[in-house]
Every structure is written in structure tokens, then in C-alpha cells.
Symmetry: C2
Subunit: 209 residues, 2 copies
């Protein structure tokens, strides 16, 4: 039982790695089972012994991408001055840089859509939540009055806003923005958002509108 499973696991790892490289080079749409099979040296049909379908394969690659992204954000959180505000700026810029350096893999995280009715497996869903936690800690330091639920919501909003800037900024479809300009814009708007949130906090929440 060992020999077979060992080989199977080796091939599985090779398959996922080949898929990762193929997505990085040719985009999500360029991922072809026949090319993958040739790459790892097995028959086309054998792919389905290692993985249920391409959906799973894409999710497995996505899991690795999320892991690397997580590392990059962790690195950004701890490096540099420790003011929460500047930590958040560094995290946002790290997100931007990661997306730029891993453009196709990063895009694959959001482009991929399961066919309706098929639900995303647990191990894949779990990964995605982790991203917010980097933002959560500095936010908690900035807004000690807010409840964990409120902080979670604010964290997701901030993350989403930065994600949007990165997504549209790196898109060829709209006007291409040079990366340094994009980084500057992101840093500026993150600082503005934080300052604005703090000001609104002091002033008394929603009473001002």
C-alpha cells in the first residue's frame, strides 16, 4: 500500500505545482488538463486520480497562493515603525506588491467561479477568512471602543477598498496605471480612510449625518 500512495502523493504535488506554474504563465484560462498530464508525465485521464476535477485543482493552487500572500502580509505587518496607521499602510502596499508580482495567480483567486450548485469545500473557505486578521490587529489598536464584530466589519471594508484599488489599478481594461503611482494613491487613500474614520469616531458616530 505504501509504494502506490507514495507515488500518488508525489504526482499530486507535481500536478499542483505544474498547475500553479501554468496559471502564472498563461492565466486561469490557459490551464489545460492535457498539457498538465504531459508536463508531469502521465496520461490525460490519470489527472482525475489525483484530483476530482479542475475546480479542485484551481482551489488547491489558490490555497498555496493565499498562503504566500499571508506570509507577505505578515512580513509587512512587523517590518518598519509600529504605529498602527503605518502598519495598515504597509499591509495595503504589500497587498498591492504581491498582486503585481503574482498577477495571474492573484487574479485566479477572484476570477474562478464554481459552477452553480457545486459548493466550495471547507478547507478552501477557511483560508480566505485569514486575510482580514492582519488588518484586524492594527485596527483594534486604533479603535479600542469598537466591538470585535464592528472591527471585523471595518477590517473587511478597508480590505475591500484596497482590493478594489489594486484590482482596477492593475487592470489593462481601464487605463493602465504605473505601479509607483498606484502605490502612492493607495498609501494616500488608506491614510485618508483611517483619519476619516478616527474623526468620525470622535465626533460621535452617525449623529453627524
Amino acid at each position: 500500500m505504501t509504494k502506490a500512495l507514495e507515488r500518488r502523493e508525489k504526482l499530486r504535488a507535481a500536478l499542483i505545482q505544474a498547475a500553479e506554474q501554468m496559471i502564472a504563465e498563461r492565466g486561469l484560462a490557459g490551464l489545460k488538463t492535457r498539457d498538465l498530464a504531459r508536463e508531469i508525465g502521465c496520461a490525460n485521464g490519470a489527472v482525475y486520480n489525483l484530483v476530482a476535477d479542475v475546480d479542485e485543482l484551481i482551489l488547491r493552487v489558490g490555497s498555496r497562493t493565499l498562503l504566500r500572500l499571508d506570509e507577505a502580509l505578515t512580513l509587512a505587518t512587523n517590518a518598519g515603525e509600529s504605529s498602527p496607521r503605518e502598519s495598515l499602510v504597509r499591509i495595503a502596499l504589500a497587498y498591492c506588491d504581491f498582486a503585481a508580482e503574482n498577477l495571474q495567480l492573484w487574479r485566479a483567486l477572484f476570477e474562478h467561479r464554481m459552477e452553480t450548485g457545486k459548493l466550495v469545500p471547507d478547507w478552501s473557505v477557511h483560508d480566505q477568512m485569514q486575510l482580514f486578521r492582519h488588518i484586524y490587529q492594527p485596527l483594534a489598536a486604533l479603535f479600542p471602543e469598537r466591538s470585535p464584530e464592528e472591527l471585523g466589519i471595518t477590517a473587511r471594508s478597508l480590505f475591500s477598498a484596497v482590493h478594489g484599488m489594486v484590482a482596477l489599478g492593475l487592470e489593462q481594461k481601464l487605463v493602465a496605471v504605473p505601479l509607483p503611482a498606484l502605490r502612492k494613491e493607495i498609501a494616500g487613500l488608506v491614510r485618508a480612510m483611517i483619519d476619516g474614520l478616527i474623526a468620525r469616531d470622535v465626533k460621535g458616530a452617525a449623529a453627524a449625518d
Copy 2:
């Protein structure tokens, strides 16, 4: 020459409308030429007389979606109190509402990717720029010191940030957010961004970092 062209134009319009409905119902991936042909009553191959390929078809549908979106944003700009800040909030909420009510068509605007090498035709690129102009006017009122180029950049950043919140907020992939909560978050963050931008403006631009 009139009879043939007339029929052609009628069929073309029917094709685009059928494509729009099909995307709205089944998503971008559910768009199939054979189904479209059956829908409008012609042969599968005839579709390629009306349209160069499905890429063009998708772009044509996208053009219509952008037009309707533009109308919705125009409506939001003029309705309600005329303070630029609240105009921007209304525009952001209108964008959110439009995306929620036209989820699949709105997604198609961003999901669709041309195969590499094929470039987007002019008439399609032109449409997309128009969206920023709704944001531009209130922004110009809020920041009279800024140059048109700076305003354009800020407008795109603001738009992108809101887009990100809407995109991730409406995504099933991450935790589903109830629409009213999302609207509240968007309104709050837009106000915070504007307040923060104004504060940074007063304080002396980038000198503070």
C-alpha cells in the same frame, strides 16, 4: 440593399438582447452560441454574420450595461441634497444598488477577459471612462485647489475603493453580507474617505507622512 440590412439589424438587436438576458439568468459562463441561435431563430453559424465572435457580443452587452449604470448614477447625482459629499455617497450607494440588482450583468463587465493579443475595440474602451465623470464633478467642488489630472486620479481611486467594497461584499465566496449592512458600510467609508482627504489637504499634502 435595405431589406437585407434591415433584417440583419433586427436580428443583431435580438441577438444582443438575448445574450443580455442569458447572461443575466445564467452568468457569463452560461452564454452559448447554439442556445442564442435557437432563441432568435437562426442557425448556429449565422450568429457570426451578426457579430465577429462572442467577445464582441459580450462587449456589446457590456456597453448596454454601462449605459444603464450611467443612467442610474446620473439619477443619483441629481437627486437629494446638493452637498458634494452627500452626492458622492449617493453615487456610491447607487453603484452598489445597481450591482446588486444586475448582479450577473455587472459581474460580466469585470469577469470577461480578452484572449491575450486581441485588443478591446475603441467603442468599448470609451464607455468605461465615462463612469468616473460622475465622481469628478463633486470632487472638483470639494477640492478646488487640485488640478484636473489630480482630480482624475482621486476620482478613479474613490471609484475603485467603492467598487472593491461592492465586489467583495456581493461575493458569495467570502461571507455573504446582507445588503443593508453593506450599504451602511459603504456610506460610512465614503464619508470617512472624503473627510480624511479634506483633512490631509488642509494639513499640507504629503508633508505629514
